[in-house]
């Protein structure tokens, strides 16, 4: 992933209609969640235990290590499960932080407008103009790189997309009569914000968040490529792929397995989220025959 922004225009919340894509998406994501949930309960679960003499076992060769072992002889299945938990956990935290922060900023900017909005525009411009990777490298140079730091930095710098979308919605809502009307009835801004703006904004936030999951997973793994993020010996998808890359020629599964798990999870979330954003395709511009 590049660190460039992936922003979506405000998607339209649509009624859930089961589509094949949704089923596939749920299946893909479900597989990964199941892996995360079940494997730690299995008897052989040991993501940290090293055995250099049993290093680089291929998958299915050794019943003790169903998916083989890595360069330090650690059980790959266990590590995959732990990595999934770690990465997904981090991602979810980061996404939630950004979604909350971004929506809050966007809502306030959209609702109040004026000076506040100008300030927020400046802050988001600076955030966008300051490459996250650089920021993280600089901060890691001072503090030690850790999952927490990555969460903190990414969690505070990836909100611009949310802010922009929610700002537009909030600005549009502000002019809606149903937002004005509680004011005429004696309610204050807090009332309007909490009862009308936030509840009408958050479904949109949710949809961006769903697409953002993919982006954040990719960014955190890219950061791990640069040595920033979850620290060994705790695995993550990014670091597993990165470590596995070195063995791509001889032991390709080391990179491909975490790659596959990541594909399942990220692709699954994407398919699922597409279900929300899928349009009534074609609209008025459909094939023009009578039939």
């Amino acid at each position: 992933m590049t660190t460039s922004l992936t922003l979506a225009t405000a998607p339209v919340v649509r009624r859930w209609r089961p589509r094949p894509g949704a089923a596939v998406g749920a299946l893909m994501l479900g597989t990964v969640l199941l892996l995360t949930a079940i494997v730690p309960l299995l008897p052989g679960f040991d993501p940290m235990g090293q055995d250099l003499r049993a290093a680089l076992r291929p998958p299915f060769a050794d019943p003790a290590h169903p998916l083989g072992t890595d360069a330090l002889g650690r059980d790959l299945l266990s590590r995959l499960a732990l990595a999934s938990a770690v990465t997904l956990g981090m991602t979810v935290v980061i996404v939630i932080m950004n979604a909350v922060l971004g929506s809050l900023i966007g809502i306030l900017a959209g609702y109040y407008g004026g000076r506040l909005e100008a300030l927020i525009t400046l802050v988001s411009n600076v955030t966008l103009a300051m490459p996250v990777v650089l920021l993280l490298i600089a901060i890691c140079a001072v503090l030690r790189p850790s999952a927490g730091l990555t969460i903190l930095v990414l969690g505070c710098t990836w909100w611009v997309g949310y802010a922009r979308v929610t700002r537009n919605i909030a600005a549009a809502l502000r002019r809606q009569d149903f937002v004005v009307s509680p004011l005429t009835q004696g309610g204050d801004s807090v009332w309007v914000l909490t009862r009308h703006i936030v509840p009408n904004v958050w479904p949109h936030t949710l949809i961006i968040a769903a697409t953002d999951v993919a982006t954040i997973v990719l960014i955190t793994s890219s950061l791990e490529y640069l040595g920033l993020g979850v620290q060994p010996p705790v695995p993550s998808w990014g670091s597993m792929i990165f470590d596995g890359q070195r063995h791509l020629a001889g032991d390709p599964w080391l990179a491909l397995l975490p790659g596959l798990v990541m594909l399942l999870a990220v692709g699954g979330v994407q398919f699922l989220s597409q279900q929300f954003t899928a349009e009534t395709r074609g609209g008025l511009l459909r094939k023009g025959g009578m039939r």
Partner: protein, 316 residues
């Protein structure tokens, strides 16, 4: 209802003034953040001297680089440098930092520009084809391919491209910026990512336009669907996409690091990340100012373009 006057000279001047103020504020903020982070990361002397240099040598070097001055003086110095465009010499490379940054700029712009252009162009073609044919199969295929591409990190995707096209087929160079052929793989890595993103945005925007009444009006006049699509819907749909593209291209200019590392592409991203970790502050400052300026300029250009396409926003 009286027609709104088209933007007056005052409007345009105001717009320019506001933009300039925003640009200056952005650059200033970025430089300040960079300065603070820079001083927090520590003094570079120890990184510049060989292992057997003593602490005294390191101290001497640090003070000759000006680190013994009060922070405020150093900061003001940075600001003066910003105004005069003189960011000083790189500590490591002992050349003008700005010169080094500018040396790398073409490579980065080239990469970002092609990736952006090809990604966007392909997305436009694909989105238009989907709309025109109304083919669900096509949309599904493109959607799946996009989801899969987006599930693979750039560094891994780049590596797979290298393995297939350079190592296996020997068709394309795997690294460096030596010939037009060497552009292909890095651009392909970035452009595919861009493509997926723009396709999503465009497809959503076009689908939304397709539901607009003016489309029905045009069809009811007997216009060809393709005409309606190209001349009516596309300009309408591209406006929001352009806004996103501006943000994105700005980001792309500072953020192609991973690809630059994999392809040993002599771009700004690698120079900057190296400079940050090596505490080569003059390069960091010069580079960040460039990135921030590029971001502001690109986005201003996009805004102007959008205002030209959509005069409704001009008055707002």
């Amino acid at each position: 209802m009286p027609g709104r006057p088209s933007p007056s000279v005052i409007d345009v001047l105001l717009f320019i003034a506001r933009r300039l103020a925003l640009a200056v504020a952005t650059v200033l903020a970025v430089v300040t953040i960079a300065f603070v982070l820079g001083r927090a990361t520590g003094e570079p002397g120890a990184l510049l001297l060989p292992d057997n240099a003593t602490q005294a040598d390191v101290q001497a070097l640090n003070s000759s680089l000006g680190f013994d001055r009060p922070l405020l003086v150093q900061y003001l110095d940075t600001l003066v440098g910003l105004v005069t465009g003189d960011f000083g010499d790189s500590y490591r490379l002992r050349e003008s930092a700005l010169g080094l940054v500018l040396q790398r700029v073409p490579a980065t712009i080239e990469l970002a520009f092609w990736a952006f252009l090809i990604g966007l162009a392909l997305a436009v073609v694909a989105a238009l084809t989907i709309q025109l044919t109304g083919s669900r199969v096509l949309r599904a295929i493109v959607g799946w391919a996009g989801a899969i591409r987006q599930s693979v990190p750039d560094f891994f995707f780049a590596l797979l491209l290298v393995l297939v096209f350079s190592v296996l087929l020997g068709a394309l160079p795997s690294l460096g910026r030596t010939s037009y052929a060497s552009l292909v793989l890095p651009v392909a890595t970035l452009a595919t990512g861009q493509f997926v993103m723009y396709l999503r945005l465009l497809d959503a925007a076009l689908s939304e336009q397709a539901g607009q009444d003016y489309v029905r009006t045009a069809i009811a006049q007997g216009q060809r669907r393709s005409t309606v699509l190209f001349t009516r819907m596309l300009p309408n749909a591209i406006v929001p996409v352009l806004g996103m593209a501006g943000l994105n291209l700005g980001g792309l200019l500072g953020g192609t690091v991973v690809v630059e590392v994999v392809f040993a592409w002599p771009g700004l991203g690698k120079l900057l990340t190296d400079a940050v970790s090596q505490r080569d502050f003059p390069i960091v400052q010069a580079g960040l100012v460039f990135v921030a300026l590029a971001f502001v300029i690109v986005n201003t250009a996009v805004d102007v373009l959008v205002r030209r396409i959509d005069t409704r926003t001009a008055a707002a």
